[in-house]
Symmetry: C2
Subunit: 178 residues, 2 copies
């Protein structure tokens, strides 16, 4: 995108999604709240990475392959030897948490979310993002013969409250926009 200022010779790259990444020893997320007749349901991963994700207006499916490839291949996790490696190399699991609050901007003391994508489009992109992560992680697990037997992709329910419990050996929190 061209910079909005007509005197500016440069470009502005407006992000269409924001992710926050934390490595974990264990993470547990509620995917269905308790109801009168049923207990709450949870998903859980052990060692790996939590991806909090929010899509902004203008996001399309086109960005998903690059997002997933980048997030799974960036060296964001610490190996047993202390070297930084990707979650695929670890190999570790991935917990994906939809997090619309990441799109918040302060206006006075309130947070506003006007730049967030419409809920229907967000759900579609989120589902496609999850599916692509599953595909990439499973392909990597299959090729790493045995080492990745326990790795998995889990994810939260889009639109729900994300009741999360996290245990880390240092979250190494990163922020990546696309």
């Amino acid at each position: 995108m061209k910079c909005a200022q007509h005197t500016c010779p440069g470009f502005i790259s407006v992000p269409v999604s924001r992710t926050v990444l934390q490595q974990c020893l264990q993470a547990r997320l509620q995917v269905k709240p308790a109801e009168e007749q049923s207990e709450a349901q949870f998903v859980q991963i052990d060692r790996g990475m939590v991806i909090y994700i929010c899509f902004f207006k203008g996001a399309t499916d086109d960005i998903l392959p690059k997002m997933v490839s980048t997030l799974l291949n960036l060296r964001l996790c610490e190996s047993d030897s202390g070297r930084m490696v990707s979650v695929l190399e670890l190999p570790g699991s991935v917990l994906i948490v939809p997090q619309a609050t990441l799109g918040g901007k302060a206006k006075g003391r309130a947070m506003q979310y006007h730049n967030n994508i419409h809920k229907d489009d967000g759900l579609r992109l989120y589902s496609a993002f999850v599916a692509l992560c599953e595909k990439e992680l499973m392909a990597a697990a299959a090729s790493s013969a045995g080492r990745g037997a326990e790795i998995t992709v889990k994810h939260g329910t889009y639109g729900n409250r994300q009741v999360l419990k996290l245990d880390t050996n240092g979250p190494y929190t990163h922020m990546m926009e696309f």
Copy 2:
């Protein structure tokens, strides 16, 4: 994201710090690792907010009052009635986690931290940020007569590994730059 051209009059000021904010029911952070003669030491807060913080090159003390005032007064927490309120209004505790990884930028598959502030300056700003948070939170607690008896500010040791355990009822993750 900002216009890349420094000559552009539309250039929105370059941020000198990045924070990630999560509300918690309980958070526990290691402040001293275990050694041969001693066990690891931890600090803990109950309900409140975790502030992960990273300073970039160019950050000075001047930004701290605005940062602290904004973070403590923004409506980032959910009250018992479900209304969004500030951590001061909750009233809740604050756990401050130094998190240099927040300054990371991807270069190929590696993360680089060239924009992070020099360690000595970072420690000084971090210490001043913690002190200012303590002052503001304690002043608010004193004026809220009794309601805030349990609230406190805890923080991690700058430069250490931040071994963190987090329990949430929905982290409501926000990102704020200053």
